[in-house]
């Protein structure tokens, strides 16, 4: 706050001059000249805490070593990042961490992705001179989405930062001190009984194996190999632009075709697209919005695609549940349609059908198990896998995504518009809705289908649209801390929006809690670009132009918000107690 970012500072790092704005952290200045300073608790998108003390450097002003993550270029002399003192201290700190860490990399789900493991290799740590002081505590398996194995926690605080300062949910925090210092829920209550929304941003932030999604891959393998089961898979929009991360493709690569091919090789009977269900969502949600506007319904209407967000409203803002659209999320609409429309059409008993979802999300694991989500008569979606779990299955199967041929989705639940594709990014649901709603009301196509005002990753985006003389005001936000700002405004009567899109995770599903590890804001942006590319290349760019959607209404549903739609595609919300 007291550094002037317009003032440039030049310092020398390892003898190389680098010029950066005042207030720049040493770690970022070093990165600029290609010197990576190792760190464990540092994450470019999270507030700095300087807990781990790995990113030590030496400088000519200070008697002590400095941590590069929090010290600024204004307050240091010449910096040296690889002196014997630096190496010794970094190594000792790492050995101290390892002496209190289980040595079970072989069976750790984070192996290969673990930042501590990487550092241990980089620092050539072989035999630890310190005696192990590690004690195992039981894994916490108290919810359907997130597994917490606190034995592996290195207390770096990244999860707390994500929970408290990115999401503002405050489900977890720091407890006790010294050797008992740990991270957990208040009074160690089960995670799902707290304000936790199961967004998994803590999982995404964790550098080690302490936090993971609940693994469901073995169950999916069992289903695939069960000859009596017809196993269909749907894949969410944001997965196709992220899965490549785990196979060395450039960040943000659109891997739709090769991903479809790989999923077919895994043995799924049909490979469908959640984007199709996103188009369906627009039909239902757009109609619901117009109905609310025209009939004095509760406004603003707020999107309900994001299960973490729905959890948040139910737990923290239950008085605003009437503002939530009654539409199910695309994943759940897909499940309900797959086990009715698709099953009937193909004469498959729904009891023999298994619907698997590939989602960039861990909260979806909770969503599919909600008691409301069995409108087909059985559980609509059986298993949810994260992007990471899909990548794991592809590796298990011995497939290289980069070498897969391009294949198409199966039909009828595989054809989607570009509007469905952009559901995966913040602003996408809004843009998709506007593209269709405008036409539904005015009878003409919007001159420009790109509503760029709602794109990007700013905290809160606003736009307005003239619908036959009625100005419709919309807002878009992502990340619960930002959403809270909007909700408080609405509560206080300070906002007059008609429609708000909220995605639980910052940036939307491209930054979901189930996406490949080591995601950063910069990577999320590339994924956003990827989704807009998919949109641009799509034959149809408006949900209501999707011919398979038309067919679904003609053959099965009747009309949007009609009787059958309400039965299968809409839901209700319940206030949930928070401990």
């Amino acid at each position: 706050m007291h550094f002037d970012p317009n003032k440039m500072i030049t310092i020398k790092i390892d003898g190389i001059p680098v010029t950066v704005p005042s207030g720049t952290k040493i770690i970022d200045a070093a990165a600029k000249i290609g010197i990576k300073i190792p760190s464990l608790c540092h994450h470019p998108d999270l507030n700095v805490r300087a807990f781990c003390r790995v990113c030590l450097v030496e400088d000519t002003w200070s008697r002590r070593l400095k941590t590069a993550c929090n010290n600024v270029v204004d307050e240091c002399g010449d910096v040296f990042t690889n002196t014997p003192r630096v190496r010794e201290a970094r190594k000792t700190v790492l050995e101290l961490i390892l002496a209190n860490h289980p040595q079970d990399c072989l069976s750790c789900p984070k192996s290969g992705k673990c930042e501590l493991q990487t550092l241990a290799q980089e620092y050539n740590l072989r035999e630890n001179p310190f005696d192990s002081v590690f004690t195992r505590v039981p894994k916490q398996l108290d919810n359907p989405a997130i597994v917490r194995d606190m034995s592996k926690c290195v207390r770096c605080g990244r999860c707390v930062e994500a929970c408290q300062n990115v999401q503002g949910t405050n489900a977890i925090g720091y407890h006790h001190r010294s050797v008992d210092f740990n991270i957990g829920t208040a009074f160690n209550n089960p995670l799902n009984s707290t304000a936790c929304v199961l967004c998994g941003q803590c999982v995404a932030a964790c550098p080690v194996g302490a936090l993971n999604e609940k693994d469901d891959t073995e169950k999916v393998w069992d289903a695939i190999h069960d000859p009596n089961k017809h196993v269909v898979v749907q894949v969410a929009p944001a997965v196709r632009v992220a899965i490549g991360d785990d196979f060395g493709l450039p960040k943000g690569s659109v891997a739709t075709g090769s991903m479809v091919a790989a999923m077919r090789k895994l043995g799924f009977d049909k490979v469908f697209d959640t984007n199709f269900a996103a188009d369906l969502t627009i039909m239902e949600e757009g109609t619901e919005l117009l109905h609310r506007i025209q009939n004095g319904g509760t406004l603003p209407m707020i999107t309900s695609c994001s299960p973490g967000w729905v959890n948040y409203v139910e737990k923290t803002y239950p008085d605003m549940m009437p503002n939530l659209s009654t539409c199910k999320s695309p994943q759940q609409m897909f499940g309900a349609i797959a086990k009715t429309y698709y099953a009937e059409k193909n004469n498959i008993p729904k009891e023999n059908m298994v619907v698997v979802s590939i989602m960039p999300c861990v909260a979806k694991k909770y969503e599919c198990a909600r008691p409301e989500m069995n409108d087909s008569g059985v559980q609509d979606v059986d298993y949810v896998l994260t992007t990471r779990e899909l990548a794991k299955m592809i590796r298990t199967r011995g497939l290289d995504l980069a070498k897969m041929p391009e294949e198409e989705f199966d039909n009828p639940l595989g054809l989607a518009s570009g509007a469905g594709a952009i559901f995966g990014t913040s602003g996408g649901v809004m843009e998709a809705a506007l593209r269709s709603v405008y036409e539904m009301v005015t009878g003409k196509q919007a001159g420009d289908l790109d509503f760029v005002g709602v794109r990007g990753h700013e905290a809160i985006k606003e736009a307005s649209l003239d619908l036959n003389g009625t100005t419709v005001k919309v807002a878009v936000t992502s990340g619960l801390k930002n959403a809270k700002v909007l909700l408080d405004k609405i509560r206080a009567g300070e906002a007059d929006y008609h429609f708000i899109e909220v995605m639980c995770c910052p940036g939307g599903c491209v930054g979901g809690g189930g996406q490949p590890f080591r995601t950063t804001a910069a990577i999320k942006e590339k994924r956003m670009d990827g989704l807009y590319k998919v949109d641009m290349k799509s034959t149809y760019r408006q949900s209501h132009k999707n011919p398979e959607i038309h067919k679904l209404y003609e053959d099965f549903l009747g009309e949007p918000n009609g009787h059958k739609s309400h039965e299968l595609l809409h839901t209700h919300y319940t206030q949930r107690e928070v401990k």
């Binding site: 300087a50 807990f51 002590r64 070593l65 000792t92 002496a99 209190n100 002081v133 010294s178 050797v179």
Partner: protein, 428 residues
Amino acid sequence: MSKAVSLLTKRVGKINPQSVEDYVSMGGFEGLKKALTMEPMAIIDEMLEATLLGRGGAAYPAGKKWKQLYNIEGSPKYIVCNGDEGEPGTFKDKILLRDDPMSVIEGMAIAGYVFGANDGYIYIRGEYRLIQAAFKESIEACKKAGFLGENILGSGWNYDIHVVSGAGAYVCGENSALLNSIEAQTGRPRIKPPHLAEVGLFSKPTLVNNVESFADVPLIVNMGGKAFYELGSEGDGGTKLVSICGNVNNRVVAEVGLGHVTLRDLIYDEEFGGGIPEGKELKFFHMGGQSGPIGFPEQLDTPYTAKALKKEGLSIGSGALVVLDEDMCIIDYLLKVCEFFIHESCGKCVPCREGNKQVHNILTKFKNGVATEADLELLQRLSRTMTTASFCGLGQAACTALDCCIKHRRAEFEAHMRGECPHCFPKE
């Protein structure tokens, strides 16, 4: 001739601590009255000339700290008095807080005037419950008499002092943890930058000084910085309160001119420590609390002043002087020091949380006679890392005592490797 001084402690035991009348009758509030006639910068100049090295332990020049804060824009500014006095063996602030609280109030008021503050906070350690209550009474008495509160001495300036306390965590003596504790946050040190002078209490520019430092302020204003400086020597101005305890005949708080006595005087003179009971030999002494250095008999003739002590690898720190006699095993003692840090670490940074535990492990090997030369080397590497890499002063200083012992009494460590120590391995 007596080497003891009675300046800071002149009212101790002679007045009713909660009586403004008593305090004023012995020169109280003269400093504040004078200060109100002075320009703030003139007071800071006196502080600079006084060369008052902060009495909390870090010995940062108070005048310099004041000048830095003075040049920082922003308001309100807050005055915070660190009365956490958590260093074991330190009980000199207690004497001031209990027996002459108004000297601290006066010093805080002068600081308030200098920085145009309207609120001061004094953080009195959790264990001083009775003192907290009495201190509040003193504040009320000062308000009634017009030395605090609204329109102080007709100057139009308002200033109040609030008494706050934590639950007694040692780490809350670290200034930024202390501010967190005042703000009702968890008492863990804050990340820097930003520095407290800029972003301190309630994110406002803040001055944090020790109890004794504030009590020195009225003296400095009254007698002038130069006269105050001359009470001490060698760039270390004023008098100093020393709490002497452990294996000594007199467990006392002594006031001495800095540099005018030696460590030997403090331990052996009748008016100070009075020597070691039962005629035993001095084994070592621990200065400035658990985070301070350990000294040995061959260093006894060092003058008690920052510069001379530094040459010996010693320091005043909090002003504690804990004396240990020949019956104390160094390893046993270091284990106790280590247990203290294990108990008091906030736990958020790796070197302190994990390091102290490992120091304890290795020292235990010495205690059990199973340590090797490699363990001694590892201990030193660990100490270097903790000292240089810990987040705050607590972890950085946790190995100070250990380092002194390895440096001066390596032989005792080596003897333990061989299973030789009359205390740890008594011969039947």
